[in-house]
């Protein structure tokens, strides 16, 4: 076993917390988050870039954490589902997915919410077509997507009535 592995000093921010870690060069961001930091809210549902369950925000943009090496995340800001709640209060999107049943088994939900979060930061009032396009990389097998669209719309309405951006 362990011939000396190449490691990189990774300096980044995860959920608002500064990180200084030595990571193996072949460590995926998804595994770094889950196995090293214990942030298991980010799920892995496929063998690479197919399902969207591992979607996180990197500098505010939704990306697959399973297609990114942790060592390439220098000086970036990573956000996962664990940081979306507003001090233990569910965010508008989280409330939407809960109350409108945008989640059934829940496995795709963290990735779905992160993709939607990225979308709403770009576009605070998306049309149904824009919601569809924004979530097109995320596969859900339970809902048929109708209630996912309604969940996002719920959040849009709530955020706009509150008069502030996501």
């Amino acid at each position: 076993m362990s011939e000396k592995r190449n490691k990189t000093h990774l300096h980044c921010t995860v959920n608002g917390k500064e990180r200084d870690d030595f990571v193996k060069d072949n460590l995926l961001l998804a595994d770094y988050l889950r196995e090293e930091l214990g942030l298991t809210g980010t799920k892995i549902g496929c063998d690479g870039g197919e399902c969207g369950c591992c979607t996180v925000l990197i500098d505010g943009v939704p990306q697959h954490a399973c297609l990114r090496l942790a060592a390439t995340c220098q000086e970036v800001e990573i956000e996962t589902i664990e940081t979306i709640s507003e001090e233990s209060r569910l965010s508008a999107l989280q409330r939407g997915f809960h109350e409108k049943l945008g989640t059934q088994c829940g496995f795709c939900t963290p990735g779905m919410i992160m993709a939607a979060e990225g979308l709403l930061r770009q576009n605070s009032n998306p049309t149904v077509d824009q919601i569809r396009r924004g979530l097109a990389s995320n596969i859900c097998r339970c809902t048929g997507y109708i209630k996912i669209i309604e969940s996002v719309q719920f959040a849009v309405e709530e955020l706009n009535s509150r008069g502030k951006a996501a």
Partner: protein, 771 residues
């Protein structure tokens, strides 16, 4: 004085009780348990489809530093399987491998790299045998038996003729027939299979967390294959990322994980890749169907004569049940005076399919509804009218196979889709390449006879009430995202008149919760719902007794208003906590239980062997209208809109019922237009989510759901099946809509644009030739 009323929970749109965990990422699934001392398990899989095992040389793998255990088929000679009559599968292959990807050995090592290196050091020596990848090849004369005890590779041959089919066909004015091929499909549930097994050497005790729909069956098979006492095993089902039937039987992964954990004397986690999840399969088998229907001029069906051949893969699994369901569930939708069925379940050298959503009936119902539509066209009848013509007649709804049908909302479903889709005004006037199609379906609310006949009730639920006034619901019913825990909480809250926030729940942990057979065949709402009502009623009676004593009145004079128990409207009464205190006096914490059992009348017919399969306490019904538009140049299919009516008896939670119906329709759409697991010489070539195409949010159609409530007399508050029937109805409704749009009728599934384009071109050629 404020009017005090019991809180209503049934019939109310309720978010899932475990929703907050899911939307915050706090929900822990099997792969999310990461103890610090956890080893990584990896499986060595067969590179060949059919072979005698000569040697599995693990010596070099074992010698690799960092490897804690390597096991092979020598680890256990105890086979497993979901049906007691068909347990022929080993966690790790012994003597023979029978499909490409079958587990042969497993490594437990300190990390992934070491485990993978060890896998690469395993030397697998084998002698190839002839392999069969289609039902036809496996059944050919002279084919080698894949299992010695299954002559001719027939797992099960079903044959019945009820009502005199030859006479029925002779009496018909029109007989039409067609053959259909329906591709094998997989569930592609979001969560790949995962298990974590912790072996406690001091106590010789095994704890397993696994992504399963059937922790009880898993528990049994763990004890069997480990050769441990059943009391030495604890099976826990954490959050599970969907099932749709792929986890309705114990899977090799949880057994292998436990075996290797014991060999390593520690804790091992195995997370299957998506490819391994496809290989583990247990989806819907490829099915070849020959369907023949005879009708009178007015559309009345005189007889149905059909045959189904299912490619059953290398092991039995649920195979016997699937092939019996395919026959038995022909009954119960329409009034059929004569039915002949021949079903062949064939063993092949492909991964074993299982009990996928719409188990057994989906492909046969597709063929039937497709052909019935064609017949309507031939008779110049409206497709909805021909279905109305053949409805079951109440109040008894008799079928030849003696189904126990006490609620039948199919007529109302048809009325709803006809009205809402604008069928009468729009059908036939849609313009070129646009069409409307209709179809019907049904599905049982759980099998009335359990797989393991033990004499225990079908379902048992516990409620614990303690000094703090909170009630804990304990059930073995596996919550897999369908909302079973929410459903059970609603049932208990409704009976007690309390808000659901008074309840907590604990599910599927064999150390804490009562046994439950599992989440499959839509049994949970019906059976666990009824058991919960029973438990809550027992608890309510205890509380009423206590209140009566305290109020010094007779129990029958106590009025339960949920948060208040009083003796008449003038009485101030006792609040809930006071009643709880009174009830706990002298006895302490209260635990009550509730049971549910099916009635013998629902156990299915004895007219043919296996007639018990398809016996159920109630059947849900669906009618669906699908609107399509076809691209004339590319044959791309756009599902414009779906009107889905389902008779669910009573929608305990209309929000969840909608979610189930929408999800069913959408999953049916995948099978109808794009999905299929394919093999080249036994090698799966669609084992990723790019090659196996499920529809995305972009193609997802608008679905209008019509909830029909026929109120089943035996269902919990009248409820029955809600999560499968609408999948079954969608597929033929789509095919019928395509036929309406382009004049040519698809037969084989999936109806891909390639296939449809071919059909359209051939059709145009024949039209031109005719001119």
């Amino acid at each position: 004085m404020n009017e005090i009323k019991p809180t209503k929970s049934i019939g109310v749109r309720k978010p899932l009780v475990d929703g907050p965990e899911k939307v915050t990422g706090k929900a822990l699934y099997s792969a999310d348990f990461i103890p610090s001392d956890c080893l990584v398990g990896r499986i060595f899989r067969s590179p060949v489809s059919h072979a005698e095992i000569i040697e599995v040389d693990i010596s070099e793998a074992q010698a690799l530093p960092g490897v804690k255990a390597v096991i092979t088929g020598d680890e256990t000679d105890e086979p497993y399987g979901v049906l007691p009559i068909a347990r022929f599968e080993y966690p790790l292959a012994r003597d023979k491998v029978r499909y490409k990807g079958e587990p042969v050995a497993c490594v437990a090592a300190i990390d992934v790299e070491t485990a993978q290196k060890a896998i690469d050091l395993i030397k697998f020596k084998y002698k190839k045998l002839p392999a069969y990848f289609t039902s036809q090849d496996a059944m050919k004369e002279g084919a080698v038996n894949i299992h010695d005890h299954r002559e001719g590779n027939i797992e099960r041959d079903v044959d019945f003729d009820l009502g005199g089919t030859d006479d029925g066909l002779a009496a018909a004015d029109l007989i039409m027939e067609e053959t259909y091929n329906c591709a094998e499909i997989a569930q592609v549930q979001s969560e790949p299979h995962a298990a974590i097994a912790e072996y406690d050497q001091t106590r010789d005790f095994m704890t397993v967390h696994a992504s399963t729909q059937v922790p009880y069956y898993g528990h049994k098979m763990l004890a069997k294959t480990l050769k441990m006492e059943e009391s030495k095993v604890r099976m826990i089902k954490p959050f599970v990322g969907g099932g749709f039937g792929c986890r309705t039987e114990c899977l090799n992964i949880e057994l292998i994980c436990a075996l290797v954990a014991r060999a390593a004397q520690g804790t091992v986690r195995i997370i299957a890749s998506r490819e391994e999840t496809f290989i583990t399969h247990r989806g819907r088998p490829e099915t070849d169907i020959e369907m023949k229907i005879g009708v009178k001029k007015d559309g009345t069906i005189t007889a149905v004569d059909f045959k189904a051949i299912q490619r059953g893969g290398a092991y039995s699994g649920y195979g016997v049940v699937t092939i019996l369901y395919a026959g038995g569930l022909m009954f119960g939708v329409y009034d059929l005076p004569a039915v002949r069925y021949r079903g062949l379940r064939v063993l092949t050298n492909t991964p074993p399919p299982g009990a996928m959503r719409g188990h057994g009936t989906t492909d046969v119902r597709y063929a039937f509804e497709n052909l019935l539509d064609k017949i309507a066209g031939e008779l110049n009848m409206d497709p909805i009218e021909i279905r109305r013509k053949n409805l079951l007649q109440g109040p008894k709804y008799e079928t030849l196979n003696e189904m126990f049908i006490n609620s039948y909302g199919l007529p109302e479903c048809l009325d709803w889709v006809e009205k809402e889709s604008g069928w009468k005004s729009r059908k036939g006037k849609m313009g070129p390449y646009k069409g409307l199609g209709v179809a019907c379906a049904h599905y049982p609310s759980g099998a009335s006879k359990p797989v393991n006949w033990t004499g225990e009730p079908h379902a048992t639920v516990h409620l614990k009430l303690d000094w703090d006034g909170s009630i804990t619901l304990l059930t073995g019913a596996p919550e897999i995202g369908q909302g079973s825990t929410t459903m059970a909480t609603q049932c208990a809250a409704e009976i007690l008149g309390l808000d659901m926030s008074r309840f907590q729940s604990l599910t599927s942990d064999s150390k804490l919760t009562p046994k439950d057979n599992g989440s499959y065949s839509s049994r949970v709402t019906y059976m666990v719902g009824n058991a919960t009502i029973d438990a809550a009623t027992n608890l309510k009676n205890i509380l009423i007794e206590a209140a009566a004593k305290k109020l010094e009145v007779r129990p029958e004079d106590v009025e339960c208003l949920g948060e208040v128990y009083r003796a008449g409207s003038q009485d101030e009464g006792l609040n809930f906590n006071e009643v709880v205190q009174a009830a706990l006096e002298g006895t302490g914490t209260i635990t009550v239980k509730g049971n549910y059992d099916t009635l013998p009348e629902s156990w299915g017919t004895k007219k043919y062997r296996g007639g018990a399969i398809s016996g159920s306490m109630a059947y849900a019904y669906a009618a669906q209208v699908v609107e399509v538009s076809i691209d004339p140049d590319t044959a791309e299919i756009t599902v414009v809109k779906v009107w889905a009516a389902q008779d669910v008896g009573k929608a305990l939670n209309p929000l969840a019922v909608e979610g189930q119906i929408e999800g069913s329709v959408w999953m049916g759409m995948g099978q109808a237009i794009s999905e299929g697991t394919q093999y080249v010489n036994g090698l799966g070539i669609t084992n990723s989510m790019l090659d196996y195409r499920v529809p995305t949010i972009v193609e997802s159609p608008p679905i209008e759901v019509g909830i029909i409530e026929s109120v089943d007399p035996h269902g919990p508050f009248g409820a029955k099946e809600a999560g499968e029937t609408s999948l079954v109805a969608f597929i033929p409704a789509l095919a019928n809509a395509i036929a309406d749009a382009i004049g040519v009728r698809p037969v084989d599934l999936p109806v891909t644009p390639d296939r449809l384009l071919q059909l359209m071109e051939n059709y145009q050629k024949t039209q031109k030739a005719a001119e």
